[in-house]
Structures are given as C-alpha cells and as structure tokens.
C-alpha cells in the first residue's frame, strides 16, 4: 500500500512537473531576434521615395506598419518613423534592415527585441533557410506551399486576397475588340491554373472580389469554354494576335501566361506571352498584361475601389468611385460591369502564404490591408 502510494505520488509529481514545463513554454517570452527574409530589395525607407516595383512597395508597406503607429484615412502612414512598435536600428540599403523594439510604445513593448530583415532572398533560399532554421519568417510563393509543408515548414495561409488578372491595354486595336477579349477570357482554364500551377493554393476567379469579401463571387463563371472562345475568335477578321505581357522575374506570372497561351492556342487564338519590365508602362506592342492586384481592405467597397483605382487608367474603365455607403448590390453591379467588359479578366485569387520557423509563436495571419503583426509574435527559446 505504501509502495503503491509512493509510486502514485511519483507519477503525479512527474505529470505535474511536465505540465508545468509545457505551461511555461506556452507563456509569451520577451527577447530574441526575429529573423525575417523577404524577396524584395529596398533601397530607401523614405516616405517620400517611390518604390521601384509592387514587391518593393508591399515590403516597404510591411516595414512601415512596424515603424509607424498611425495611419491616414487613405491608408498611408502618419507620424514619425519609429513611433510604432519598432524603430530602425541598422540599415544597409538593398541588403538588410534591423528594427529594434520600442520600449515605451503605447500598448506595451513587443516581445522580440529586434527584427532582422534580410532583403533580396529568392524563394528557394527562403525555404531552405526556413527548413534549416536560419530564418523565422518568410513569405513563400503559393506554388511552393505544398512542397514546403511536405518538408516540414509551418505554412500560414491567409484568405485569398491577391487577384491575378489580365488587363487589356486601352487603345490597342485587338484590345478594343470585345470578341477578342471575351474569346480569351472564355478560353482560360482557371481551375487548371489553381490545381496545377498554384498547387491548389488559391481559387479560380470569375469576379474581382473573393467570395469571403462580398459573397457574390459564385455568381461569376470560372469555367473554360474553348468551343465558344473559338467561335468568338473566328468572328474576328484577319489574323490578329494578342501579345500578353508579364513582369520579368515573375516566375509564377510566366507560368500562368504560358498556360493561358496553351489554352488560347487550343481555342485557335493567336497569343504570345512576352516578358516586360516590372512596374514599367506596357510597351506599345503589348495588348494585355498580367497583373497582381492586392486588396487594400477587407471591406468589399474599399477593395473594389482600390482595384478600380489601379485598373481604370490601364484598361480605360469608368473611374467614378462607388458611394461611400454602397450596398452589396451596388458593389456587385459595379464589379459585374467591369468584368462583363472583359477589359479585365480575373484569373485566380491568391492567398498570402508565410513560412514560419519552429520557434515563432502567436503568429496571426494579417487581414487584408494590414501589416505583419510582429509586435505580438514572440520567440520560443531554443532548447539547449
């Protein structure tokens, strides 16, 4: 009896001790440096400086969200750099930036002491560093998400919030032909792009806003109709050809454009995919361009307004903004009007995917338009 009591007590003690250790490991811990790797290359954090390309702009926006504590109504940051959770501790243009935690920030000091952001890291290297424990956080391309997960990388996926679309250039002869635009739109197998190219990370897009945003995405067809496309294309006189441009260095864009070319060829549509300089105006010979549109807000009206602001000058769309209190129906009507013009051909919605190192804790996927919530992240101490 005594022996049994002793054994029982011992088991209970060990269990309690283990439970206490687990409880200790789940408790936020201050300290440590969060190692972040990004693909973009930043040459300046000056608010007045214009980013060279969308990737640089997005990365700068993320870093600014850590440096500033206020935003203007238009979404830009207000105040002084360093007024946010972090301030710049070290800056090496184009290579890396180190952000140090502000001790007296309102709402409490960030858990991590600093964030070291390495710039210009290719996706493959970012994944390798995540796997090797040399990085704690990195964005990963959707097409690599499944492979990364298979290799043991923690993958955090956002709601689909980036739209990949074809935008016809206003004023081009073929772009002004509604039959040509519709033929191309109907020839594209969006599901194949999602399933094969994006490895099922994303959703086929028939409209501009994802289903979770306005709830009307299902009303837009995403099915391919090669026969219909062929018939439409046959109604065009002559032997026109569409030149589809995609940004240089955009491997995902290149793959999607090549698939679109295959679909177009299958429908008898003459289309060639050509690379063009990022962020540069489309060359005169480019009739359509593959673009990435990031939702700047979770609110459908604001998100659509953001899309409209970008697309209107490119595609010659109606730039008039939606009313501030536009109802869902109005947003849908505007969205339908844009999509029905086929000047913008939605392809897929992409989620944002993040690779997380094993010691990163309390990471929450940011909502559309929000920055990385590194102030709430803490790092588990690595076991000795």
């Amino acid at each position: 009896m005594k022996l049994r009591s002793c054994l029982f007590l011992a088991v209970i003690s060990i269990a309690l001790l283990d439970a206490g250790r687990v409880e200790t490991s789940r408790r936020p811990r201050y300290g440590g440096t969060l190692r972040v790797e990004i693909g973009a290359v930043l040459h300046s954090l000056d608010p007045a400086g214009a980013p060279a390309d969308p990737d640089e702009a997005a990365a700068k926006n993320e870093i600014d969200s850590l440096l500033y504590d206020q935003r203007n109504p238009d979404g830009t940051f207000a105040g002084v750099a360093g007024s946010g959770a972090f301030h710049i501790a070290e800056w090496e243009s184009g290579k890396h930036v180190t952000l140090a935690a502000n001790e007296n920030i309102r709402g409490g000091r960030p858990f991590v002491d600093s964030i070291d952001i390495q710039m210009g890291r290719p996706a493959k290297d970012r994944l390798l560093d995540l796997e090797g424990g040399k990085a704690d956080f990195a964005e990963i391309p959707p097409e690599e998400a499944r492979r990364a997960a298979e290799r043991g990388v923690r993958v955090s996926t956002s709601q689909p919030e980036d739209l990949v679309a074809i935008v016809f250039a206003a004023g081009h002869a073929i772009a002004e032909d509604a039959h040509a635009r519709e033929a191309l739109a109907r020839s594209i197998e969006r599901a194949a792009i999602v399933n094969f190219i994006l490895q099922k990370e994303g959703e086929p897009a028939g409209g501009l806003l994802p289903q979770w945003s306005n709830g009307t995405a299902f009303l837009f067809s995403t099915a391919a109709d090669a026969a219909g496309a062929k018939e439409l294309w046959s109604q065009i006189g002559g032997s026109p050809k569409i030149v589809l441009g995609y940004d240089s260095g955009d491997l995902l864009g290149q793959t999607i454009a090549e698939r679109i070319a295959v679909n177009a060829r299958d429908a008898g549509i003459g289309l060639t995919a050509e690379t063009i300089a990022s962020a540069a105006p489309s060359p005169a010979n480019v009739d359509a361009r593959l673009v990435y549109l990031r939702m700047t807000s979770s609110h459908p009206r604001d998100a659509l307004a953001g899309f409209q602001a970008v697309l209107a000058p490119m595609a010659g769309l109606d730039p008039s903004p939606l009313p501030a209190a536009a109802a869902s129906e109005q947003i849908y009507e505007r969205e339908r009007a844009i999509v029905s013009s086929y000047r913008v051909v939605p392809l897929v919605w992409l989620p944002r995917l993040y690779g997380l190192g094993p010691r990163v804790r309390d990471w929450k996927v940011p909502a559309a338009g929000e920055g990385w919530p590194f102030a709430d992240v803490w790092l588990e101490q690595e076991s000795q």
């Binding site: 499944r146 197998e189 194949a192 399933n195 094969f196 190219i197 490895q199 099922k200 793959t255 090549e258 698939r259 070319a261 295959v262 299958d266």
Partner: protein
C-alpha cells in the same frame, strides 16, 4: 613555207596535241579520283552520322528506360493508379527529371494520354497525346524521330517511349533529345565538312528551319530547291552548289531524309563537303600541268627547232647542191655524212654529180672531137674545091712547059688567072670562118624591131618575085604598139636576114613567108615561118650546132650566128617544125638585155663547139651565112 618550217610546225602540232591529250587525261583522271575520294568521304560521313544517330537513339532509349525504372517514377505510377489520384503534385517533375537525365524533351503522360508534366512545354499539362494511346509495342520500337510541340514552336526530336504499368493503368514516359544546332555541334566532322539540318516542320520551305552548328544557315534559299526535291521524293541524293561565282565556294552535299515512325518526312540532313581544297588541288594540278605543258612546249619547240634544223640541214645542202647543178655547176658536192637515208641520198647525189661531171667532160671531149672532125671535114671540103683547080692548073702549067713551050705563055696567063681566082676563093672561105670566130659584142641602142623586119622584107622584095623561080609571098603581122628595145640593130638585122634567107632556101617551090611581131611582159617576140618541107626531129636537135648543115654549099654557121646574136641580147630562140608543113622560128628578146657578159658561144680556136642550143637546129637553114 620551207621544208624546215613545215617540219617544225608538224613537230609543234604533234607536241601540242600530245601534251594536251596527256594534260587533259591527267586532269580528268585526277578529277575522277577526287570525286571518288570525296564521295567515299561523304558516304563515310553519312554512315558515321547514321551510326551516331543510332547510338544517340539507343542512348535516348536507355535514358527514358532509366527514368521509367526510377523509384520516383514507379511511385508516381502507383500513386496515379489510385482512384481520384492528384496528378497536380507531379506537374513540375518533368523539368527536374529531364535535367538529371540530360533530355531535352520529357513528358509524363497518364494512361488516357493526358500530359501530367512536360519539360518542353510545362504549361501544357492536361492536354492529351492521343498518339500514345494507340496500340504500340513501345519497348520494341526503340528510338524514332518525331515532331515535338514546344512552347517555342515545333521542334524535331529523337524520341523514345517507355511505360510503367500498375494494374490496368499505364504511365507513359516520353523523352528525347532535340535535333538542332546542338545536336549538329556534337557531331565530330572533319575539317571542311559541315552538317546542315532542315527541320521540315512547316508546309512550305522556311529558311529559318535550315540550321547548322552555329544557327540558321545564311543564304539558305539556295538549298530550297534541293530540299523541295527531297520532300517530294525522300531518298539519299547528292548535289553540288556554288555559293558564289568563285569555284572555290562550291560545296558538295549529300542529303539524307529523316523520317518518322510512319515514314513521314520530318527533316533533311545535309552533309556538306567544301570543295575548296579539291578545287585548289585541281587548280594546282592544272597549273602544274600547264607549267609542265609550257615547259614541255618550250623545250619541245627548242628541240623541234634543233631537230628540224638537224634533219633539214642535209636536205638543205642537197637542195643547194641541186641548185648549183641546175646553175651549171655540175661538180657541186654535198657535205652530208651518215648511214641514214639522207646520208645515202647525199652520197648518191655526190656520186651522181661526179658521174655527171665525168660524163660531161667525156661528152665535151667527144663533142670537141666531133666538132674538130666536122670542122676538118668542112675545111677539107671547102678547101678541096679550090685546091683541085689549083693542082690542075699547076699541072697544066708544068705540062705546057714541057710539051707546048709555044703555048706556055698563053697557058701561063690563063693559069695564073685561075690560080688567083681560086686563091681568092680560099681567102673568102678563110674569111668566113674568121668572121664567125670574131663575132662582135652587141652595141645596144633603141631598136624598133618592126622597122628592122620591114627593112629586111624590102631588101628581099626583088628576090621574092625573081624571074625564073617560084614566087614567095611575104606576110607581115606586125603589132603596132611594139615597144622599142635596147639592141644592136646591125646584129639583129644580120640574124633576121639569115633566118629569112634560110626560109627562102627552104621554099624552092615557093610559098609563104610569114613574119609576126608581138610583145608580152615587155619582151618582144618575133616569129618567122615558112611553108617549106620542114625538118625532122633529129635535124631540129642539131640545128644550132656550128658547121652543121644539110645544104650542099652551106658552112653551118648561119643559125649558129643567129643563136649567138639572140643569146648576146639575153633572148631565146626556139624552133617548131613539121615535115611537109613548114618551120617556125620563135625569138623572144627582152626590152633591155641583162648586164652580163655574153656566154662564150663563139667557138675559140681550141673549141669549135658552141654552147648547148636552146632549141633544135635547122639543118636546112644553115645556108644563110654560108650560102
């Protein structure tokens, strides 16, 4: 053209023909040899390519089979055999696998023919390769050529197919290597040769589809017709083209059709062999041949010149000897030695001239003896007539002195008269012989032959119609514009007079005496014809021999004098006669006699024989001077 020139040209032409035939033969044989060598070279290269092609094909088959046998592929096949298998997982696998197996083309294809993953066209996943689903034993097929669709357009590939079967489902592995400039680059070609590949991927000839190891071929349109021919009739063929007018740019090609599984033409391999070295070598041989020809011609001409000179020298000497003989130098000799025909001919020539000289001397000696005999006979005959009366008269004087002294004075007076008369006859006879011996040299002056003829006819007018003899009718045919010649009028008058006298003597029964003058080439011709009894050929031959006569009282000097006068004037005299018809003398006198001493026709004291007459003598006509 001289014999030497003819011989030289014969040698030269023979030499040219020989050298030309040899040079042409050498060139043709060399050309054929080069063509054969080049053909063998190209055929060897084509065979090498075919071997390389087969080796590459086997290599492709092994690589594709290696992929099929790989664990990852087998796992993929097993995974895809499950219901609702997710093929999207493998969409990027072809790229990595193709790189690791060094294949340009690689497709993983599901059992329904749908592409799971494609290296050459990654975006083509989901589309079907229907030809794969047709029944075919791929393992026994080996490698084959195929038109492969890529995102950059169609390409030509050396392909192989392997399958991995799990349950009732197949996973096709279609892999291959691109046939293009990289493939051509990998071929080991000798210097001066290159391989071109035409990819028959379009309905019409496309210049950009013709590539060599460095890319598209420049000026590829030049090969369009040959490729078109290959497309119409795919078979091995050979042809040659020149890229520029320069022969050095010519290139020989062997075309090899590249056909697919169904014998459809997919490409044409062109093995090009630069003819530059061959043409250079041919040019070198040609230049060498020309040099040899030139040298051969040069030395041949020299040898021909020397040989012809050597061959013709004795002939020339013979010709000179013959000319000397013709000019009267019968003692001419030819200095040619040797046992050859020319030497024998020269020896015969020398022997002939020696014999001629000897015979001429014998003949001259004989003629001289005959002449002396004739002269002696004539002298004896001439002198016998006056001597007999002299002897008779002297005997009458002796007899009158002894028998009739009383009549001696009368006899003496008559006898001295006869003696003086006969002595006078002897003096005349001696005078005529003396005159012939002392024929004067002609003193030239302008002479109108017509006037001379007219004067003579007028002189003999009385005798033509003399009483007691049959009349002779003179006929004059004198040309009006007869040129005046340089001649001795007295000697000419004497000669013509002798001929007229001879003609009159030849017509004792009367007849016609015709005198005709003409001129030709500046010479004056005179013909004197009679209608007498004519002469025999033998008489004609001796007609101009001095002291030869057929008359009873002729001295035989008349026609000898005529011939001497004509000869001294540089003219010629000939006679034509026909027995019973008459005789014609033809004299041709030059306008101006040549400046040379008259030949020694005048018999001297030791040689009473004149030079050989130019025509037959007229024995009946010698009475002119001697009558």
């Amino acid at each position: 053209m001289t014999f030497r020139s003819k011989l030289f040209w014969v040698f030269t032409i023979a030499l040219l023909l020989s050298v030309g035939v040899i040079a042409a033969g050498v060139t043709i044989v060399a050309r054929q040899a080069f063509d054969d060598l080049n053909r063998q070279h190209s055929e060897a290269l084509v065979a090498q390519f075919e071997g390389e092609f087969q080796r590459r094909g086997q290599d492709v088959v092994q690589r594709v089979q290696g992929i099929a046998d790989a664990e990852g592929t087998v796992r993929m096949a097993i995974d895809l055999s499950r219901p609702k298998a997710d093929v999207s997982v493998y969409v990027n696998d072809a790229r990595g696998v193709s790189q690791s197996h060094q294949l340009d083309f690689l497709d993983f294809v599901a059992t329904d023919g749908a592409i799971i993953s494609s290296n050459e066209w990654p975006a083509r996943f989901g589309y079907k390769m229907d030809w794969l689903t047709q029944p075919q034993d791929w393992s026994s097929l080996g490698s084959f050529l195929m038109k492969v669709d890529t995102q950059d357009g169609p390409a030509l590939g050396l392909m192989a197919v392997s399958t991995v079967r799990v349950g009732d489902r197949d996973l096709f592995i279609v892999g291959g290597q691109r046939l293009g400039k990289d493939f051509l680059n990998s071929l080991v070609l000798p210097d001066g040769m290159r391989a071109l590949l035409y990819l028959d991927l379009d309905p019409d000839f496309q210049p950009t589809n013709l590539v060599d190891s460095s890319g598209p071929v420049v000026d590829s349109e030049r090969l369009a017709s040959f490729i078109a021919r290959e497309r119409q009739d795919p078979r091995k063929q050979a042809f040659e083209i020149s890229w520029t007018p320069d022969p050095l740019s010519s290139e020989a090609f062997h075309a090899l059709p590249l056909q697919g599984r169904r014998k459809e033409l997919l490409g044409v391999l062109l093995i090009g062999s630069s003819q530059q070295e061959v043409v250079k070598l041919e040019h070198r041989i040609r230049d060498l041949a020309l040099g040899v020809v030139a040298m051969g011609l040069f030395f041949g001409l020299l040898l021909s010149w020397w040989g012809t000179a050597r061959v013709t020298r004795p002939v020339r000497k013979l010709a000179e000897g013959a000319r000397e003989v013709s000019e009267g130098n019968w003692g001419a000799r030819v200095d040619v030695h040797g046992r050859h025909e020319i030497g024998q001919l020269a020896t015969a020539f020398n022997r002939m001239t020696t014999q001629l000289t000897q015979q001429r001397e014998q003949l001259v000696q004989a003629e001289r003896v005959a002449a002396w005999r004739e002269l002696a006979r004539r002298l004896a005959h001439e002198l016998k007539n006056p001597l007999f009366p002299l002897q008779t008269t002297v005997e009458n004087l002796q007899r009158a002195r002894e028998q009739s002294p009383e009549q001696f004075d009368e006899v003496f007076r008559e006898s001295t008269g006869i003696l003086l008369s006969e002595i006078e006859n002897l003096k005349k006879i001696v005078g005529r012989f003396s005159d012939f011996a002392k024929m004067p040299q002609p003193e030239l002056g302008p002479v109108d032959v017509n006037n001379v003829v007219r004067g003579i006819v007028k002189l003999f007018e009385a005798q033509f119609g003399a009483v007691g003899r049959p009349p002779i009718t003179p006929e004059l045919h004198l040309e009006e514009n007869l040129p005046v010649i340089q001649a001795d009028a007295t000697l000419l008058h004497r000669a013509i007079e002798n001929l007229v006298l001879n003609a009159m003597d030849a017509m004792p029964a009367g007849g016609v005496l015709m005198l005709r003058t003409t001129h030709q080439d500046g010479d004056v011709e005179l013909e004197i014809s009679d209608t007498g009894s004519g002469l025999t050929p033998e008489e004609c031959e001796r007609l101009f021999t001095p002291y030869y006569t057929t008359k009873q009282h002729g001295t035989g000097l008349g026609l000898a004098i005529v011939q001497s006068v004509v000869s001294d004037h540089g003219g010629r005299i000939s006679v034509e006669s026909e027995t019973g018809v008459g005789t014609s003398f033809h004299i041709r006198l030059p306008a101006r006699p040549p400046l040379r001493p008259a030949p020694a026709h005048t018999p001297d004291a030791t040689s009473p024989v004149a030079t050989t007459p130019t025509a037959s003598e007229n024995p009946e006509a010698t009475a002119g001077e001697g009558a």
